[in-house]
């Protein structure tokens, strides 16, 4: 009995994702990543009848406030989509070379976020001390002569609530002002709304 079970388990591990009905790309069904110490499988909801419901199915957004954002933030910072975010998690985050940053308020982050994201609320942009700490976390160090050493700054992907959200822009602007290298920043414009609209995995903080 044990043998049968372990064979079944082995088989399910080996074939994980192979028979997924809803894949991410043609050659990728899922990616594993750690989120706060737990291994999370990022894949897509497999129920083809599933509808987006709740907050992120909302389409009435007041502007001023939630105005549509341009496709690119500036010509030095690359805009990416879901496929690139998943690949970034697979290659950069899993190899400790990069981190995904959720720029929304903590409350929203706790309600659900992209697995492996750390939360740096945009509101910290104006807090010099907090920004200094954030830069240290992201690998920026101080040279002995007081200048910044950005050589070991890690790659980051920044996102917020959706294409109508300007919080990523505020955080990226603050990081650039601090001297963070633009070529290590990527902007996921679709944000949490588009992530959810494609049925991709999210995690809550309890």
């Amino acid at each position: 009995m044990k043998l049968i079970l372990s064979i079944a388990l082995l088989f399910s591990i080996l074939s994980a994702g192979k028979y997924d009905k809803v894949k991410i790309t043609e050659d990728m069904s899922y990616v594993f990543v750690y989120h706060k110490g737990h291994a999370i499988k990022i894949h897509r909801i497999q129920d083809i009848q599933n509808h987006l419901t709740g907050t992120y199915a909302k389409i009435s957004y007041p502007c001023p406030g939630m105005c549509i954002q341009p496709i690119s933030f500036n010509d030095k910072i690359e805009t990416i989509g879901e496929v690139e975010v998943v690949k970034f998690i697979k290659n950069q985050v899993n190899n400790k070379k990069g981190v995904v940053i959720d720029a929304r308020p903590k409350k929203l982050y706790n309600q659900g976020t992209i697995p492996s994201s750390i939360n740096i609320p945009f509101s910290l942009s104006k807090n010099t001390k907090a920004m200094d700490n954030i830069l240290t976390v992201l690998g920026v160090t101080n040279n002995s002569n007081g200048t910044l050493n950005i050589e070991k700054a890690i790659e980051i992907v920044v996102y917020c609530n959706g294409p109508w959200c300007s919080k990523s822009k505020q955080l990226i602007t603050a990081l650039l002002k601090k001297g963070y290298p633009a070529d290590k920043i990527q902007y996921y414009r679709g944000g949490f709304q588009m992530w959810k609209s494609l049925g991709l995995t999210t995690v809550k903080t309890k």
């Binding site: 991410i24 043609e26 599933n50 549509i68 341009p70």
Partner: protein, 206 residues
């Protein structure tokens, strides 16, 4: 008294302004003209409007549906909603709904013309006539795209490979990448960020 009146007026105006779901801070709506027809592009009005139609489905089966990369090709710009609107306002070229006719007839983005993607995938007279209409020339089987118009393509959403397939097929026959634009979000993102869709009126049966 006059001061009070002014204050009240200002207050009412600001409430009115706050209740608006504008596109950007500068634009509340955009009127475009295509083939002598006027269309208004705007975001849905109201406060609690949710997307409940088939575009709120999260998990389209693969194959054939996979999440598309952010870019189709290096030289083809990916557009967001603001860039689509600019393209239409400035009459920069042809806005193509690359989906099948049945989809287009249900709902589409104002200002688009329907040219199903399959037409672009093979060498056929229909395709040739369309490309000639765009300003391309064919001499002894060789295409000259030096005077071709810009084209902007979209389909159902970030999970739809139809407009990317059309763009790739056009690249293969030498259509300049710089003259092609890709609205990756498609009609799904268009609605998720709050834009209204154009529902063509059925022509009265004789």
């Amino acid at each position: 008294m006059k001061n009070l009146q002014q204050t009240v007026l200002f207050f009412l105006l600001s409430i009115f302004a706050l209740a608006q779901n504008n596109i950007t801070e500068q634009k509340s709506s955009v009127t475009i003209e295509v083939d002598g027809k006027e269309h208004i592009i705007k975001r849905v009005e109201g406060k609690e409007v949710y997307l409940t139609n088939e575009f709120s489905l999260t998990s389209r089966p693969s194959p054939p549906f996979y999440i598309q990369p952010f870019k189709v090709s290096k030289g083809v710009d990916t557009y967001g909603e603001l860039e689509v609107i600019n393209f239409l306002e400035n009459k920069e070229g042809v806005f193509i709904d690359a989906r099948l006719k049945s989809w287009f007839e249900k709902s589409n983005i104002a200002g688009s013309v329907n040219i199903p993607f399959k037409i672009f995938l093979s060498d056929n007279d229909k395709r040739d006539n369309i490309l000639i209409k765009f300003g391309a020339k064919k001499k002894k089987g060789v295409w000259d795209f030096s005077k071709v118009k810009s084209i902007l393509l979209y389909c159902n959403g970030a999970w739809c490979g139809q407009s990317p397939a059309a763009i790739k097929a056009l690249i293969d026959i030498g259509f300049p990448e710089k003259k092609m634009k890709y609205y990756r979000g498609g009609i799904q993102s268009w609605q998720l960020v709050g834009f209204t869709v154009n529902v063509p009126k059925k022509e009265a049966t004789k």
